[in-house]
Each structure stands twice: as structure tokens, then as C-alpha cells.
């Protein structure tokens, strides 16, 4: 299988400029700077590359949306990688940071951008240190800064570490956080390409997307587009975790059967158990079952099957897993990470979490599953950003696909708790930790 990003990724010292250059690093940048901006952009367009962060929007089109003109424009690399199950950018940044830096400079050139940022999640301390070192090396070598390689292009690159919030991986929440505000998503439109960081036109792309750019320039957009399928071009890094023998990151050609990834690369569930359900694109993708394993792994096939490719994080649950556990864990995560700005997400995730908890304590009835399903449909499409949907889509799919199992969980838990009345069990707890300083008389 053809490898681009992960080609000899484990070569010692690849994170240093020396090794990266020896392997032909920064040649694509030289090539790009020798081309006109329009030509670089058309290479990106021709490549057909779709965003690797989750939404899958065509990168070339995003760049083309940036207004022409002399205003301050920004590039923001989204390295927040907060989607549960996703860890591909971590490996990429840790092992080949210059690939990302090179991609950023080329993309900035294509967009006429002079200020770039990498917003990296706070937990990625090691990767942040490596990137800092790489940025310093690249600046010393003249790949970043004033008049890059004598081309007249000037671009600064600043690494910014997040403080630990899932919502800051959402592009507009990220921008607010980068501006020093509470990381809350913004209304769209205006889209970041028109009004983003500091109200300037902003190109936001995922680490993997930007790291692919040097390869597109090297190969040529049309050549790159030959990899993968017609609408899902190129290779994709897939993080596979859960019940598999060989979890980890793999680079695949888009469009190969999912089974080949789950069983061929990752070895399938240990001790020969069957796959029960799986997330094809991170914890916010609707779950699929073992019947879906022959789906081609590309954007459109997964969308047609009612799920999504998302960030390319496959999570496998085998037959030993309870759906309820996974649902509860997910709901708890999303309720905790909801920023609280919009109503359906804030209240919907919180309510769903409480309903699931009620199932485990034996205070639910099968009717609650109807309510739960309806709450998920009330969330989907009605929120300010996609965080609400990120919970509602997988939970909704679980309630539909595993209703019988959830019903028997409900009955079993009720039996365990003696079938007590709900009113007797629900206690009113008073949270007084938010008490202010001045009591009212």
C-alpha cells in the first residue's frame, strides 16, 4: 500500500531538520514558491483533498474562499485532536513535525497569508516541545520569517497550547480560545474564511491535511487524486483502538474495505470474538455493526451507510461489551465537554446523561428509550455547533440498533434495585460549591 505521510515515519531523527531535508524535505516548498499562488491553489484543487479533521470539506475550496486583498489573513492549524479515539496527529507531529511546518508555509503561500498559528491541545506537551524545536529550526533555516527563500513571502508561525477543552477543537471555539476568550463556538456565517481570527479571513485546517500538502505539491494534484476514490482522494491516517489485536495508526488508501483495516491491519478482536459495533470516525460518528464491515472506507460510502468517516478514528467493541457502558461514557463525556452556550446541546447532553444513569440504577422503564431517542432527534441539527450532534448521533444510533439489549438492561437493573418508584430514589442534592459571597436577607 502506498504511504505518503507515514513513509518511513519511524526513521530515527526525522523530527530534526537535517534528516527531514536529507529525505527531500522542504523541496516541495521550494517548488511551490517557484510557482504562482494561483498554480499552487489549483494543485490543491486538483488533488481533491478533503479535510482530515472531521468535516471532510475540500481544502482547495476552503483556500479559494479567502478574499483577495491586502488585509491581514491568518492560517490556523488545528492540532487540538480532541475527538476520542483519534491520535494520528500526535504521531505525525511527534515524528515528522517539519512535514507539518512545510505544509503550513505552502498553504499560507497559496492563501496569501502572513500569520500562522498551530493550536495544539494542552495534553500534548511532548509534541508541543518537538514542534517548538522544529519551528525554531525552520526559522533559522529561513523557511519561516521574512522573505522566505528569497520569494518575498513572509510568514510568522506561533505555537499555542490549549488548556484542555474538547470544544476548542471546534474551529470557531478554537479561534475564540486563541484570541484569549472563553472557548465558545461562534455563529456561522460568517465562516472563518471570511471573518475568523481577530475578525480577519482565516484558513483553518487539520494537522494531517496540512501535512499532506507537501506531498500534493511534490506529486502534483492530479497525480495525488489518482489515489483513493473519485470523491475521497488520497491516503488517510486511521487511528484504530478498542478491541483489536494491533491498535495504532495506519496509513490507508481511501476506499479500501473497512474489514481490511479492522482485520487485515489491526488483527480484529482478540480471542476470536466477533465485532459487536464500531465507530468508523471517532466517538461522534453513529455506530455501525459487523454487517457494515465490508463498507469501503471513504467519506461517501460511510455517509451513505448513515455514519461518517470523521477524523478517521475507528473504535472497535467486541461482543464482550455492553452498549449501555459505552453510551453512558459517551454521554458523560459530551455533557462534560458541552460549552453551555446553546440550549439543545447544554440541556440535551445533560439530560441524556441523566437518563442513562437512571437505567443503570434501575429507575428507568423501556419508555425512557423513546424519550431518549426523541431527545437525540431534538438535538440533531438544532445546535450552534456540532458538539450536540456529536453525542446525539452515536447515542441515537445505539438506541435504534441495540434497543433490545438496552431494554433487557433496564429490566435487569430494575430487578436488581427491587423496582423502586422513581420518586423514592431521586434525591435532591444541593450543590453549594457555587455559592457566592453575599447572602441575601
Amino acid at each position: 500500500m502506498k504511504k505518503l505521510l507515514f513513509d518511513r515515519i519511524d526513521e530515527p531523527g526525522l523530527n530534526t531538520l537535517d534528516v527531514y531535508e536529507r529525505r527531500g524535505g522542504y523541496q516541495s516548498l521550494r517548488t511551490a514558491l517557484g510557482m504562482s499562488r494561483e498554480d499552487v491553489l489549483s494543485q490543491l484543487m486538483d488533488s481533491g483533498i478533503r479535510g482530515r479533521g472531521g468535516a471532510g470539506f475540500q481544502m482547495g475550496r476552503k483556500v479559494s474562499f479567502l478574499p483577495q486583498g491586502d488585509m491581514a489573513k491568518y492560517l490556523v492549524c488545528n492540532a487540538d485532536e480532541s475527538e476520542p479515539g483519534t491520535f494520528k496527529d500526535r504521531e505525525l507531529m511527534q515524528k515528522s513535525p517539519h512535514m507539518l511546518v512545510e505544509g503550513i508555509v505552502i498553504a499560507a503561500y497559496a492563501g496569501g497569508i502572513s500569520r500562522s498559528f498551530i493550536y495544539i491541545r494542552g495534553e500534548y506537551q511532548l509534541q508541543a516541545d518537538i514542534l517548538e524545536a522544529a519551528i525554531a529550526e525552520a526559522a533559522d533555516a529561513g523557511y519561516i520569517g521574512e522573505d522566505i527563500l528569497g520569494s518575498g513571502l513572509s510568514m510568522s508561525l506561533v505555537l499555542h497550547r490549549g488548556a484542555g477543552a474538547y470544544i476548542c477543537g471546534e474551529e470557531t471555539g478554537l479561534l475564540d480560545s486563541l484570541e484569549g476568550k472563553r472557548g465558545n463556538p461562534r455563529l456561522k456565517p460568517p465562516f472563518p474564511a471570511i471573518e475568523g481570527l481577530y475578525a480577519g479571513p482565516t484558513l483553518i485546517n487539520n494537522v494531517e491535511t496540512l501535512a499532506t500538502v507537501p506531498h500534493i505539491i511534490r506529486m502534483g494534484g492530479a497525480e495525488y487524486a489518482k489515489i483513493g476514490t473519485e470523491t475521497s482522494t488520497g491516503t488517510k491516517l486511521v487511528s484504530i483502538s478498542g478491541d483489536v489485536k494491533r491498535p495504532g495508526n495506519y496509513e490507508i488508501e481511501l476506499g479500501i474495505p473497512s474489514r481490511e483495516i479492522v482485520y487485515g491491519l489491526a488483527g480484529g478482536p482478540p480471542s476470536g470474538r466477533d465485532v459487536k459495533f464500531w465507530f468508523p470516525g471517532g466517538s461522534s460518528s453513529p455506530v455501525l455493526t459487523k454487517d457494515d464491515l465490508d463498507l469501503p472506507y471513504d467519506f461517501d460510502s460511510l455517509a451513505k451507510a448513515g455514519s461518517m468517516l470523521g477524523s478517521g478514528a475507528i473504535i472497535i467493541a467486541d461482543e464482550s461489551r455492553r452498549v449501555l457502558d459505552t453510551a453512558l461514557k459517551l454521554a458523560k463525556f459530551y455533557a462534560h465537554e458541552s460549552c453551555g452556550k446553546c440550549v439543545p446541546c447544554r440541556e440535551g447532553t445533560n439530560w441524556t446523561h441523566k437518563m442513562l444513569q437512571r437505567i443503570t440504577t434501575g429507575e428507568a422503564t423501556p419508555m425512557d428509550l423513546d424519550i431518549m431517542a426523541s431527545v437525540q432527534t431534538q438535538i440533531i441539527g438544532n445546535c450552534l455547533c456540532v458538539l450536540g450532534d456529536a453525542m446525539a448521533m452515536p447515542i441515537g444510533s445505539m438506541v435504534v440498533k441495540f434497543r433490545a439489549e438496552l431494554e433487557s438492561e433496564i429490566e435487569a437493573a430494575r430487578a436488581r434495585s427491587g423496582g423502586a418508584d422513581v420518586e423514592d430514589v431521586v434525591a435532591l442534592g444541593v450543590a453549594d460549591e457555587h455559592a457566592g459571597p453575599l447572602p441575601v436577607h
Binding site: 472563553r182 455563529l187 453551555g340 445533560n350 441523566k354
Partner: protein, 813 residues
């Protein structure tokens, strides 16, 4: 920036053809077609929509997802549906979600009955909830501040209050803490939210989460009546609605007027209504008897006041800033026609280094209609100049208007003042001069605009900003300029302001109705309508000196206590002591009146009064009676007419609007106005054809009196400037809710001087000059220029008017 012009487009909402301005938000456009779309977080006054509550989701043809109509600008030909099953399902869902954590305690909630959440739940909700889980709990209610109580359980996190704090008042105190369903509104470190405009969040709150501490549990919406009025506690003259129950004002709400207040109120305007119903209020006439003020009958009090007639030609009349036009007009008639005394003034005397009062000719020239800016002009100007004023203290609501202009319309703000203002952070350019130098600074600026190059870098930079920053320049100037305001005519001339729409001057008078009183003739050298008088009388400061010298033997004090309100407290104490008769009209007893008044008539509050006032931008506004007079309070026009009658002058005023009719007949620019025309929104007279009767053409633009240059600071002394804090008012002192805001005297000085004098922030200091002294707390402020120091005026104790010299010594206690 000049106001954008919007073309009208047509769209279809629920099958109706609706006309709307292009770019208007869908939710507003729908109102044009009588279609109501529910919402909580949307409030155009707060700036850009946030789309947080999701209540206003609608279906727009061609867009797959439901759209928030609060943030969707209308386009020509758009087709919108607000009643489809899909939209209804979303609306039901949002209501259900909102009630997941909102307690259903409506029967004991202050908001019940006037609550948008209640209304929308009934109108757009399913009427039932499937939620049986416990709701979130907080300790409640808590005092967000002494004025505002917060119930976090009721909060639906609509963002309105936080946006107000962050983007309107820019006090940056309110924030969200925690996240998700645990999010709550609070302040940094739990500090109380104390800020001049904090009360607006109560009105913004769409649920009962933020309630007024003074109003809590005082009434239910079905117990109350609304009375429209004008707040006359400062020159902003905000339009208000009095909430009245059983002839008592229980609450003051904003009565949104884009041309005046933009729908905001300051906390003084919102809470000082309490002063109407306190024990301190004078509700029966008082007469001094055996050295003591005693309550007497109206007959006896009028008898005593009629004693003014025995002081013909020797009566000084001072008119307080809250007096209405009609009261000022009647006082002028009483003084001039009834008492043969032209010594009447409604303006404060100036402090140290002052250029002297504005002459009648200058006042007329400054009032010329072609030079008047309107309040909304502030918001859309290219450049706004503050000259010798700080709107935060002088006309608070304009402070918000300036912030809005800077934030939303890119207005460039220039500030020239002795004391740093509250708007420094918003300013493009800020220039400091020495206290008392207002007039001289204005003159130098005028010269710079004329082309002089010896004015120094700062003034040159200011001149070039004003000249080159765009044609629409609005200048707000303070009363401290005095006669120095003459320079404004040259500045306006140099900038081509005259006759330009969107450019002009706004003078901020010291008194709430300062402008109206001048126009009504309550000044020594001009009659109603700035008409020239044969013989001019004495100005305020001269009246004080003449009274102390025995040339004036009686004083008529209408709504003012010069010991409190005027510079040179000692002079006024002598003056009041020297005269034989002091007739006063007051709502509460202040020190000068308690000590010296012979007769005190109970004064009306602004909720009881009938009459008109004039906004600094020339808008005549009407005061209406919202509550009956408490106790034995009588309408002032009647009291003045009766005193005049007893002094031998038949004013012909037997009803409130007789006084108005006489005023309108006497002021040419008001000619033909009726109270109906003024109505609830007011009339800007500079926009009327009759305004042409006032013309500034006959004023020579050359001579700009500059006053004596103040001596520069030497030998460790500091140059003293004064200011009147927004809270320094008897109304605040007697309002229980505002007592915590009553300012204590503090000396503001620069870090340099503080270090030199060894004074720490917060330490006690003694400020003295020429044998007078007062104690204050030191406040070290970085914006204060070295050599200057500032004290507050208008305080009940240790007020700056105890000092008379411009140079003061400061020592640590």
C-alpha cells in the same frame, strides 16, 4: 461613520409578502409582517446576535438546516416558514430543554406575569415535560450586588447580562464560569457586580434570575400601573416608565428612546426613585420659628415667603438644575417683574481658574440650530471630541452611547480634559491639561485649527485628527469651559460643522435641565429664548458675593442648596447667614437649608411633576404625573404663582399648562409647540422651522476670554481640579438601596506625586489651602498627570468646595 443607507427588499414569510430593510435580521423583518418569532438571547441593543438560545429557528427555503432567524439577514426573494411541523417541533424541543433545569416556581418568582420564558412556554411549548430527573441546584438567591439578586437556578444562560457587561458597559465584570449544564453567571472571584449601569441587566433578563433587590416581592405585575416620565436626575434625561402601585413608585424601567437613551438607564436613574418615598422627604411646608424649622400650614408658609416683596431689587434667585422650564420661566417672571431683581441664575459658578459664565450672546450663538448635534449623531460621527467633560459623571447614558459608536461604528474618540475620564481606554487620542485650563485649552485648539503652529505637539495632533479624520465631528463639552466655550465657535467654524448633518456640538450642563432653564430665561443677562435684557443681573458667584456683602438681602433658592452645590462653601455660608430672608423649595434638607432657610416649601419629585425640560441636544421632553403628590406637597407652578401674586404680580397662571403656554409664547424657537406634539417622544426644537429665530450670526468669533492663567504647581503644591461624581446627589443619600454608593472624599493624584509626597493608595491625607482644609483618602491613579490632583464636589461631608484656591498642599495624616 455616517449612517448606512439600506434599500428595501421584499421577502415572503408564511405566505405573506413582507418589506424589510436589506440586511435586517429575519426576526425583525417578521415583525413587519405581524409574525412573531419567539426568542430569548436576541437583543439588537447588545450588538451582534449570538444564536445561543435556538428558540428562533425557522425554515428558509433552499437551506437544509433550520436557521436562527436572529442571525439570518434577509435577502430579496427569500421564502421563510415559521409555522411548519419541523419548526414547531424545534420550538417545542427548545422549550422542553429550557425547562430541564429551570425551576417551575413562577408563583413565587418576581418575574411571574411579565416573564418571556413563561409566555413563550405557553405560546410555543408542548405544555408538558418528560423530564423527571433532578434539576440543578444552587444556593439562592444570592446578592450579585446590593442592587441585584441572582437566582442561578432560574438562569437560562441567554448571555444577555454577560454581553451587557462585556460589550455595552464594558465593565468586564460579569462572566460565565464552569461549562455545559454547570455554567453559571458570576463575577471574577465572586466580587459584587458594582458598576454605574449594573441595573440594566435586571431589565435584560428574560427570566427571574436577575431581580432588583429594592423591588423584590414589592408587587406583582397585575398590581401595578405604568407611568411614562423623564428622569431629571441628570442631563441625560432618560425616558423612563415608573412602576406605580398605590401611588408609590416601586420601580423605574427604561422607556427605550433611540434619540435619547437607547433603552439604558444608569443605576441612579433606576434606583433613586426611593428618594420619593423616604422619611427624609419634606412633605409639609417648614418655617423657621425661634431658630427651629417647624412644619406649618401652607398659608403661613406663603405669608412668610411673601416677605420677598419687602426686598424689592435686592432678591437673589438661584434655580436648581432639576427645575422644569416652566418653573424656571415663572421664577424669572417673579424675580424680574415681581421683585424688580434681575439677579437670577441657574448655572453653577466656576471653580478655580474659570473663564467666567457664558454671556447671553455666546449662549445664543452656541444654541444656533445649525450647530446642534443630536444624540444619535454621537454614534455615527467620524470623530467625537470630549472637551472638559466626563460623560460617566456628567451625563452617564451618553458614556454608553460613545462606547457603542467606538465599538460598532468605528467612531474615533478624542478626549481633552484635566481629569482622566472613564472612556480613556476607548480613545484614539487623549490629551490632559491642567485643572482650570479648559477655556485656554479650547482657545489653543481653535488657534491650531486656524493654522497656528505654536500650540505644541498634542494639540496639533488633536487638531489634525479633528480636521482629517472625517467631516462628521461631534463635540461634547462641559460647563467647566464657561466663557471659554467661545472658542467652540471658532473650532466649529474651522471644522465646517455648521449646517452639516451628523456634526455639531452638545453642551453638557451642570444641571439636569440646564439647557431648558437657560432657554426659559433663568440666567441673569437673557430673557426667555436668549433675548437680550435691558439691564443684566448678577450671576451665581456674584449673587453669593453680593449677599455676603449685604447688597442682596433675600435669597430665593429653588431646588438648590448653594452650600452644597456651589464652589466656595464659606462664601455661601456667609451669604446665607447675612441675608434676612431665605425662601427655599426642597425635597430633602441639606446642610445649608437646615441651617439658614427661613421658609422651605416641599418640592415635587420628577414622578409628580407636570412640565417640560430640554435635553442637551435640544429635545423638549414632557414630564407627566405618575403618582399623586405625597403629604401636602403642591405643584410648584402653583406655589410660585401664589408667591408672585402675594408679591403683587398676577402671572395669569392658574393651570400647569398656562405656564407652558406663556413659555411657548415667550421663546420664539418654541413658537406654536403643543404638549400633544411633544408627547411621549419629545420634539427637538433645532429641527423645527421656528428654530431659525435663533441665529449665531452676530457673535464676533475673535475674542476668546481665557480667564486668569492658573499658577503652576510649585513647592510641592498640587493644582486642584474638581468633579461631581454621579453618586454625589441628595437623592442617592436618602435612597436606602444607593447608600452604599455614596462617595467618600478621595484625593486623586498621580503616582509620581504620591511617591514624592510619600502617600500610599488608600491612606488618609489632609488637603489644605489658604487656611481651609479637608481630609480625604488618597487614590493613586495612573491617568492623572503629575502636578494635578482632583477632589469630588457635591458631597455631604468634606466636599471640595471647602477649598477656594487652585493650589493645594497635601500631607499624610
Amino acid at each position: 461613520m455616517p449612517r448606512p443607507e439600506r434599500k428595501t427588499i421584499q421577502l415572503t414569510i408564511d405566505g405573506r409578502e413582507v418589506q424589510a430593510a436589506e440586511g435586517a435580521m429575519l426576526v425583525d423583518a417578521a415583525k413587519q409582517g405581524d409574525i412573531e418569532i419567539p426568542y430569548f438571547c436576541y437583543e439588537p441593543k447588545l450588538g451582534q446576535p449570538v444564536g445561543a438560545c435556538r428558540m428562533c429557528l425557522v425554515e428558509v427555503e433552499g437551506i437544509p438546516k433550520l436557521q436562527t432567524s436572529c442571525s439570518t439577514p434577509v435577502k430579496d426573494g427569500m421564502v421563510v416558514h415559521t409555522q411548519t411541523d419541523r419548526v414547531r417541533a424545534a420550538q417545542n424541543a427548545i422549550v422542553e430543554f429550557l425547562l430541564v433545569n429551570h425551576p417551575l416556581d413562577c408563583p413565587v418568582c418576581d418575574k411571574g406575569g411579565e416573564c418571556p420564558l413563561q409566555d413563550i412556554s405557553f405560546g410555543w411549548g408542548l405544555g408538558r415535560s418528560r423530564m423527571i430527573e433532578p434539576k440543578r441546584h444552587f444556593q439562592k438567591p444570592l446578592a450579585l450586588s446590593p442592587l441585584v439578586a441572582i437566582d442561578r437556578e432560574r438562569c437560562i444562560l441567554c448571555y444577555r447580562c454577560v454581553r451587557f457587561s462585556q460589550e455595552i458597559a464594558e465593565d468586564y465584570q460579569l462572566i460565565f464560569a464552569e461549562r455545559g449544564a454547570d455554567t453559571f453567571v458570576g463575577t471574577h472571584d465572586g466580587h459584587p457586580y458594582v458598576a454605574p449601569f449594573s441595573g440594566n441587566i435586571i431589565e435584560l433578563c428574560p427570566v427571574g434570575a436577575l431581580t432588583s433587590q429594592p423591588y423584590r416581592f414589592r408587587a406583582r405585575p397585575w398590581d401595578i400601573e405604568d407611568g411614562a416620565g423623564i428622569c431629571t436626575l441628570c442631563p441625560s434625561q432618560c425616558n423612563v416608565t415608573f412602576t406605580v402601585r398605590d401611588e408609590r413608585v416601586l420601580r423605574v424601567l427604561a422607556r427605550d428612546h433611540e434619540g435619547v437613551d437607547d433603552g439604558w438607564l444608569c443605576d441612579k436613574g433606576r434606583f433613586a426613585y426611593q428618594a420619593i418615598h423616604v422619611d427624609e422627604r419634606i412633605t409639609r411646608p417648614l418655617v423657621r420659628d425661634g431658630g427651629e424649622l417647624r412644619e406649618v400650614s401652607w398659608e403661613r408658609a406663603i405669608d412668610a415667603a411673601a416677605g420677598l416683596a419687602r426686598h424689592q431689587g435686592r432678591v437673589g434667585t438661584l434655580v436648581g438644575g432639576q427645575a422644569s422650564n416652566e418653573e424656571g420661566f415663572l421664577l424669572g417672571r417673579l424675580a424680574r417683574e415681581g421683585l424688580a431683581s434681575a439677579d437670577i441664575d441657574s448655572r453653577a459658578g466656576g471653580a478655580h481658574g474659570w473663564a467666567g459664565p457664558v454671556s447671553a450672546d455666546l449662549a445664543r450663538a452656541l444654541a444656533a440650530p445649525e450647530l446642534q448635534a443630536s444624540v444619535p449623531d454621537i454614534e455615527f460621527a467620524h470623530t467625537v471630541l470630549l472637551l472638559g467633560c466626563d460623560p460617566r459623571d456628567d451625563a452617564p447614558i451618553l458614556d454608553l452611547r460613545i462606547r457603542k459608536g467606538v465599538r460598532r461604528h468605528g467612531v474615533k474618540l478624542a478626549i481633552a480634559s484635566a481629569r482622566p475620564t472613564a472612556l480613556e481606554a476607548n480613545a484614539t487620542l487623549s490629551v490632559r491639561y491642567a485643572p482650570g485650563d479648559d477655556g485656554r485649552f479650547a482657545a489653543a485648539l481653535a488657534r491650531a485649527l486656524d493654522g497656528a503652529d505654536d500650540v505644541g505637539e498634542e494639540i496639533a495632533a488633536l487638531a489634525s485628527l479633528l480636521r482629517d479624520g472625517g467631516e462628521d465631528v461631534v463635540i461634547l463639552y462641559g460647563e467647566r469651559l464657561g466663557a471659554g466655550a467661545a472658542a467652540l465657535l471658532r473650532i466649529a467654524d474651522g471644522l465646517g460643522i455648521a449646517g452639516r448633518d451628523g456634526a455639531g456640538l452638545i453642551g453638557l450642563p451642570g444641571g439636569a435641565n440646564g439647557r431648558g432653564l437657560r432657554e426659559a430665561g433663568a440666567v441673569p443677562d437673557a430673557g426667555p429664548g436668549y433675548t437680550t435684557l435691558a439691564t443684566a443681573g448678577r450671576s451665581t458667584a456674584q449673587i453669593g458675593a453680593a449677599a455676603a456683602a449685604g447688597e442682596i438681602t433675600a435669597l430665593h433658592l429653588f431646588g438648590t442648596d448653594p452650600v452644597r452645590d456651589q464652589p466656595d462653601r464659606a462664601l455661601w455660608e456667609r451669604a446665607l447667614h447675612s441675608v434676612a430672608l431665605v425662601v427655599a423649595h426642597a425635597a430633602v434638607l441639606t446642610e445649608g437649608l437646615a441651617e439658614h432657610a427661613t421658609v422651605i416649601f416641599p418640592a415635587e419629585s420628577h414622578a409628580e411633576k407636570e412640565g417640560t425640560v430640554v435635553h442637551p441636544d435640544g429635545r423638549l421632553q414632557r414630564l407627566r404625573i405618575a403618582i399623586a403628590h405625597p403629604g401636602e406637597v403642591r405643584p410648584s407652578w402653583a406655589v410660585l404663582a401664589e408667591i408672585a401674586r402675594r408679591c403683587g404680580l398676577d402671572t395669569g397662571v392658574t393651570r400647569a399648562h398656562d405656564a407652558f403656554a406663556q413659555l411657548v409664547a415667550a421663546v420664539p424657537a418654541y413658537a406654536g409647540l403643543t404638549l400633544e406634539e411633544i408627547g411621549g417622544r419629545g420634539v427637538r426644537w433645532p429641527e423645527r422651522a421656528q428654530a431659525a429665530s435663533i441665529s449665531g450670526g452676530d457673535v464676533t468669533l475673535v475674542g476668546v476670554p481665557a480667564g486668569e492663567p492658573a499658577p503652576s504647581a510649585q513647592n510641592g503644591s498640587l493644582r486642584l481640579g474638581t468633579y461631581r461624581p454621579i453618586w454625589a446627589a441628595p437623592e442617592c443619600e436618602v435612597s436606602p438601596a444607593l447608600k452604599f454608593l455614596i462617595p467618600q472624599q478621595q484625593l486623586e493624584l498621580s503616582p509620581e506625586d504620591a511617591q514624592r509626597l510619600g502617600i500610599a493608595h488608600g491612606s488618609e491625607v489632609i488637603v489644605s489651602s489658604n487656611g481651609h482644609r479637608l481630609t480625604a483618602t488618597a487614590a493613586v491613579r495612573t491617568g492623572v498627570p503629575a502636578g494635578s490632583a482632583f477632589l469630588a464636589d457635591g458631597l455631604a461631608a468634606e466636599s471640595a468646595n471647602a477649598l477656594t484656591e487652585s493650589l493645594v498642599e497635601v500631607v499624610k495624616v
